[in-house]
Amino acid sequence: MSYTDVPVVEEDILHGAYRGEGGRLFWLALGTGMLTLLTLGFYRFWAKTRVRRYLWSATAPGGNPFEYSGTGLEKFLGFLVAVVILAVYLGLLQLFLFFLGLNIFSTADPNDPLAQLQQIMLVYINLIAVLPLIFFAQYRARRYILSRTRWRGVRFGAEKGAWGYMFTACGLWLASAMTLGLLTPLMTFYLEKYIWDRTWYGDAKFTQNGSFGQLYKAMIHIFIPIGLLIGAMILPLIDESLAILTMVLMVVAYIWLLIGSVYYQIHSWRILWANKVLGDGIRFRSMPRTGTVIATYVIGMLAVSLLSVVALIPLGLLIGGMGFLADFGGSPETMFQSAQGLLFAGLFALAYIFVIVFSGALAMVFIRQPILRHYVEESTVVNASQLDTIRQRVGDEVVDAEGFADALDVGAAF
């Protein structure tokens, strides 16, 4: 199934090209990761900016790279702005929630299922109280990133609308949650429409056409495993000897559901992009494949784990040797009282943190970049000659940058 009515043409198109190199990205991610570590986290704004600048410039439809012109300084400033507001909100919210939890819930016995249920509810209440903020932050972060993204000398942009997005998203999220996910396509479609109907490239506006009903096609591999699950639960009611079959079916359905949710993301992406128009008639074909994305992810994970283990071997030997030489009797309490013990603990912490940074850089190279490459290379701009008529737009001032997203830690993947 192609899920697109965008014609397959060979004329007047621009192929997405991705030209990033693993080696460059690895050193960039490792270097900025180490700097972040050495500056106790301060450098993280600059680190993210530099990696983004790299990824943007590696993406070059028709040979012309994207350009990211945001700066670390802007991001840091935006973060400070967000902290001024969020510190008070988050502090009060969490204190009151804890207090409420203490007064309403909390029974004596932690093994009591009712108490456990209440604990889980409390976690969800906490989440729901932060959720509107997260939507708000996501819209503003995207608006900032677009205002700092340029292609062929012309800037992207988004209209203001974070509050509207927050309310829309909360409503749709609630609708989806209340129907146990049955209205997820409604949420996916209208959020996408809200965002893209406010997105501009130069003086040309994007339009999201289509309807949410189209997205149900992409839900097929969610519905099948759920059907299987229900069937598996009914089976033992018919005949008790079928319990083993139930187990097998449950496992199959679970894995199917996992793959199915990736399938939904990718195929709804295809459908939504097939129905986007830029300006009067610039169309897009974007056809990423579920199999490729999952395979890339699995192989990438294997590579990252394997290489991280390999990196751990020399560190392990070093620490093992140190421990043998120092010989502090094996008790963790005496360890912090000798100079060797402290040195040992310090080395261990450093090695531990280094491995995290190292695997982060590897994950960038073996998972994120290949998946991005796949998406870019499977995308085409149709009626590309109309791009020539697009004019520059007036600059967007976004003072808080991605501050809220950074503070709430809900930034984009890159």
Binding site: S57, L73, V81, N103
Partner: protein, 376 residues
């Protein structure tokens, strides 16, 4: 760039975007190092489109690939020159001295300072003013049964954590428990207590005792072994009772609940962030509790004097701890939740009321023996 032998002018082919429209033009860019400028000519019509001084030339840094560098003129307009060949790009890099220079917009430093101060002020206000005040007020609104239930969970958690050390948890020897109870009764006889004290001993070599919400007090057996007289234990117990009376454990938990989110927000999720989070939470906690600890010490000395017990033993106990484990001084003092041991001993001595040296021992010799052997 001061080059002894400037290069003769050379030309490269490139794509040019004028920054006004997304239309692409094929151009020839002529770099003239002697004249110090780069002139961009339309390839078809041959007319000059722009002339950029070489020292104002910048490139997009951290490029994603070796071939193809995008150049622009700093602070001029949004025109971009996309040089596809890496050889040509390198040639331009050779004559443009400031390609990677970044200029910081005027007023940035001031803006930075203003917002840093505002952020720090906002965080300080919530952490040190609003949260403590709220926590103190709200703690009064928590029903005692709830507090006790929560305290029991905390104590059980502690038991699981410490108990794994040698596979055993609470010490429940009856005679020992009775001795401990007698000690507590002597101390609390004169005080109006909101809570019923719930005393427990956990087997672990750590020299420590703590109070949990709802009147729970736990003595770790290492402390009983370390103590030479029952009055030393009584001093520590009085200190923990001080926490109970002041409702410190609950207040601290409420404050910590409010501050946890703020701290994790400030620190972010970079690698090692968890480690940094633990350290800073420890710092926060310490500054909250140091006040509470000092107050509990004052309470303990008063209680001892009311129970007609000397504070000298407590002072002696602090000194023993200092001699064995050293004191927390300088920077480390801020990481520690308790005030410096030497000054605590000093304070204990100056609060002494039993100067004659004659007092009714808090426990008899047998009772003291029973308490010390509570875990055997």
């Amino acid at each position: 760039m001061t080059n002894a032998n400037p290069l003769p002018p050379f030309a490269v082919t490139a794509r040019f975007f004028d920054g006004q429209s997304a239309g692409e033009k094929l151009v020839r860019a002529v770099a003239d190092e002697v004249a110090g400028r780069l002139t961009i000519y339309d390839e078809e019509r041959g007319q000059a489109l722009e002339t950029w001084p070489l020292d104002e030339l910048r490139m997009i840094r951290d490029p994603g690939y070796g071939d193809g560098i995008v150049f622009f003129r700093n602070g001029h307009n949004e025109a971009r020159l996309n040089v596809q060949s890496s050889v040509d790009a390198a040639a331009i890099e050779g004559v443009a001295p400031n390609l990677r220079k970044v200029e910081i917009v005027k007023g940035t430093v001031r803006k930075m300072l203003v917002w840093s101060a505002a952020a720090a002020g906002s965080v300080a206000l919530i952490l040190f003013v609003i949260l403590p005040a709220l926590a103190d007020n709200l703690s009064g609104l928590v029903p005692i049964e709830r507090e006790e239930a929560m305290g029991r969970q905390v104590v059980n958690q502690m038991e699981r954590m410490l108990g794994s050390y040698q596979g055993s948890g609470y010490c429940t020897n009856e005679a020992g428990q009775a001795a401990l109870q007698k000690m507590a009764t002597r101390l609390t006889d004169q005080i109006d207590m909101e809570y019923e004290l719930k005393l427990r001993v956990i087997r672990h070599p750590m020299v420590n005792a703590f109070a949990a919400p709802g009147g729970h007090v736990v003595v770790v057996s290492g402390l009983l072994e370390k103590a030479d007289t029952p009055e030393e234990v009584a001093g520590i117990l009085a200190h923990e009772i001080g926490h109970v009376v002041n409702r410190d454990p609950l207040r601290i938990m409420l404050r910590a609940a409010g501050s946890a989110g703020i701290l994790s927000m400030l620190i972010g999720d970079f690698a090692g962030g968890t480690l940094a989070l633990i350290v800073s939470e420890q710092l926060m906690q310490a500054s909250f509790t140091r006040e509470a600890e000092a107050a509990a010490d004052v309470f303990a000395f008063e209680t001892l004097s009311r129970a007609k017990l000397p504070t000298e033993d407590t002072a002696h106990f602090f000194e023993k701890l200092r001699d064995q484990y050293g004191d927390t001084e300088g920077a480390m003092e801020y990481l520690s939740s308790h005030p410096n041991l030497a000054s605590r001993a000093l304070a204990a001595r100056s609060a002494e009321t039993q100067t004659t040296g004659e007092f009714e021992p808090v426990l008899s010799a047998q009772e003291w023996q029973a308490l010390r052997n509570i875990c055997n």
